[in-house]
C-alpha cells in the first residue's frame, strides 16, 4: 500500500470518528490540536486502523503518534 492509499484510508476513519471531512484531512494535521481528537477517540482510530490495514498499533506506540503522518508512517513500516 502506498503512503497515499494509507492516508486516504485513514482520512475515512477520521471522518467517521471525528467528523472532519476526509478530503480535509492532511498528513501534517495533529490529532489533538487540529482534529480535536482526544485519547478515547484515538483508541477507536487505532482499532479501526487495525481492521482496515491489518496492522496492530500497540498502546505504547499509539501515544507517540501525534500526527496523521505519524500513523501513515507506522502503518507503512509495519505492513
Amino acid at each position: 500500500m502506498t503512503d497515499q492509499e494509507i492516508l486516504a484510508g485513514l482520512a475515512e476513519i477520521i471522518e467517521e470518528i471525528a467528523g472532519t471531512p476526509a478530503d480535509e484531512v492532511t498528513a501534517s494535521a495533529s490529532f489533538i490540536e487540529d482534529l480535536d481528537i482526544d485519547s478515547l477517540s484515538m483508541v477507536e482510530i487505532a482499532v479501526a486502523a487495525q481492521d482496515k490495514f491489518g496492522v496492530e498499533i500497540p498502546d505504547e506506540q499509539l501515544k507517540d503518534l501525534k500526527t496523521v503522518q505519524d500513523v501513515v508512517t507506522f502503518v507503512a513500516k509495519s505492513s
Binding site: 478515547l40 477517540s41 483508541v43 477507536e44 482499532v47
Partner: protein, 424 residues
C-alpha cells in the same frame, strides 16, 4: 426575599423534547390538544415481549446534536442536551461567571442502551471493540457532565438519582443551590431513553406495564377503571432556575417562581407505595410549607399518576388529604395519559407543563378517563380547563408530584410571578 427570608428563585427558561414534540412549545400545545404520543413498536425485538407499545420521542436527538458528537453520548444524554440547549437559549443565553452557573440533571436508569450495546460488542467481538466512550455513556451523571461542558458551568454538576422522581428532585436541588448561595443560575431537569427490550421486559415482569397493545393511544389512562399499567415514554425536560435578583438585573423574562420543594421517603417497600399514601401527603404538605403557599392558593396539580392500578388511587387519596377542604378547587391533570411515563424525565417535563399551565392559566386534559374510579374524590380535568386565582391578591400556585421506586416522594410548587412595584 421569598418565604422564610430565603432567596427567591424563578424560572427563566424552558426546554423539552418528548413524545409530543421536539420542544417545550410544541409539547405544550399537543398536550392542550389532548394528543397521545403512544404508538405500536414496529421493531422485531418486541415480538418476544407482552408489551408492544411505547411513546417514542418525536424528534431524533442525533439529528439535532449531529452524528459526531452524538456517537460519544447515550441517547439519554442526547435528549438532556437538546432540552438544555433549548432552555438555555430560552433564558437568553446570558453571560455569567462560570462558578455561578450550576447543573442538576439526571435520569432514572442512565445509559442503559449503551450498557446493552457494549455488552453485545464484548460478547460478539471482544473487549477491544467496546466503545471507549462506554463508561461516560452509561453513567447516570453523564448528562450533567455534558451539559456542564456545553455551557461552561463550573459551580457544580449534580445528578440526583431517585428513579421516577429524579427529574423533580434535580429541580428541588437546583432551587437549593441558588438559595444556599452556591449559584445564580442552575440548569435542572431529567432525561430517559429506555425503550428497549430489556426494560420493557423488566417492567412487564413486575406486571407494571399496560398490555393494551391493540389500542396504543388509549393505553395510558390514569384514574380510569380500565387502566392496566404504565406506558414507557422517552425524552427530557429542563428548566433554567435563577435567583430573582439575578433575573431582574438582566431583565430576564420570568415564567414563574420556583417557590418550594418537599420530600419524603416511604421506608415501606422497594417498589410499592405505602398503603395510605402517607409519604406522598407529607411531601406535598412540605412543599407547600417550603413555598409559603396555603392549600387554597393551589389551582392545579400535575399528578404523578402513571396509570397503574395501585398507584393512582393512592395519589388521589393523598391529594385529598394534603389539601383537605381546599382539594375541591384544585384541577388535577395526569399528562402521562398523553406522554407515557418518561421515568427520570417525567418530573422534569411535568414541571415544564405545570409552569406552562400557570403561565397560560390553563390545565391540560387527562385523556382516556372514560370511566373514573368509583371513589375518585379529586377533580381530574378531562378537557383543558382554565385556571383562575382562588384568593384575590394571592398568587396562583401549581404543584407537581413525582414518585420513584425506592419510596422517593417529591413535590414541587411553582407560583405566579407578580412583580413588586419596586422591581418593575
Amino acid at each position: 426575599m421569598g418565604n422564610n427570608g430565603q432567596v427567591s428563585v424563578v424560572v427563566t427558561g424552558l426546554g423539552a423534547t418528548t413524545p409530543l414534540g421536539g420542544d417545550a412549545a410544541s409539547t405544550w400545545s399537543a398536550m392542550l390538544a389532548g394528543t397521545s404520543g403512544v404508538q405500536r413498536i414496529t421493531e422485531s425485538w418486541v415480538d418476544a415481549l407482552p408489551v408492544k407499545i411505547a411513546a417514542p420521542a418525536v424528534v431524533d436527538p442525533v439529528a439535532v446534536i449531529g452524528r459526531v458528537q452524538a456517537r460519544k453520548m447515550d441517547r439519554c444524554e442526547q435528549f438532556a442536551l437538546v432540552a438544555a440547549r433549548e432552555a438555555w437559549a430560552d433564558a437568553g443565553a446570558p453571560e455569567i461567571d462560570p462558578y455561578r452557573l450550576g447543573v442538576a440533571v439526571s435520569s432514572g436508569i442512565g445509559g442503559i442502551g449503551s450498557t446493552l450495546s457494549a455488552y453485545d460488542a464484548l460478547r460478539d467481538k471482544g473487549w477491544e471493540r467496546i466503545s471507549p466512550y462506554t463508561v461516560p455513556m452509561l453513567m447516570p451523571n453523564g448528562a450533567a457532565g455534558w451539559i456542564s461542558i456545553e455551557f461552561g458551568a463550573k459551580a457544580g454538576a449534580h445528578a440526583l438519582v431517585s428513579a421516577c422522581a429524579s427529574g423533580a428532585e434535580t429541580i428541588g436541588y437546583g432551587i437549593d443551590m441558588i438559595r444556599s448561595g452556591r449559584a445564580d443560575m442552575v440548569i435542572a431537569g431529567g432525561s430517559e431513553a429506555a425503550i428497549m427490550a430489556l426494560n420493557l421486559g423488566a417492567f412487564a415482569v413486575m406486571r407494571a406495564m399496560s398490555t393494551r397493545n391493540d389500542e396504543p393511544e388509549r393505553a395510558s389512562r390514569p384514574f380510569d377503571k380500565g387502566r392496566d399499567g404504565f406506558v414507557l415514554g422517552e425524552g427530557a425536560g429542563v428548566v433554567v432556575l435563577e435567583s430573582l435578583e439575578h433575573a431582574l438585573a438582566r431583565k430576564a423574562r420570568i415564567y414563574a417562581v420556583a417557590a418550594g420543594a418537599g420530600y419524603s421517603s416511604d421506608a415501606h417497600h422497594i417498589s410499592l407505595g405505602a398503603p395510605n399514601g402517607e409519604g406522598v401527603t407529607f411531601a406535598m404538605k412540605a412543599a407547600l410549607r417550603d413555598a409559603g403557599v396555603t392549600p387554597a392558593q393551589v389551582v392545579h396539580v400535575n399528578a404523578h399518576a402513571t396509570s397503574t392500578p395501585g398507584g393512582d388511587p393512592l395519589e388521589a387519596r393523598a391529594i385529598g388529604t394534603a389539601f383537605g377542604d381546599d382539594a375541591a378547587g384544585v384541577v388535577v391533570s395526569a399528562t402521562k395519559s398523553m406522554t407515557g411515563h418518561l421515568l427520570g424525565g417525567a418530573g422534569a417535563i411535568e414541571s415544564v407543563a405545570s409552569i406552562m399551565a400557570l403561565v397560560d392559566r390553563m390545565a391540560p386534559p387527562t385523556i382516556n378517563l372514560d370511566d373514573p374510579d368509583d371513589d375518585l374524590a379529586i377533580d381530574v380535568a378531562t378537557k383543558p380547563r382554565s385556571l383562575a386565582p382562588r384568593i384575590p391578591g394571592a398568587p396562583m400556585a401549581v404543584l407537581n408530584d413525582a414518585f420513584g421506586f425506592g419510596g422517593h416522594n417529591v413535590a414541587l410548587v411553582f407560583t405566579e410571578y407578580i412583580p413588586l412595584a419596586t422591581e418593575a
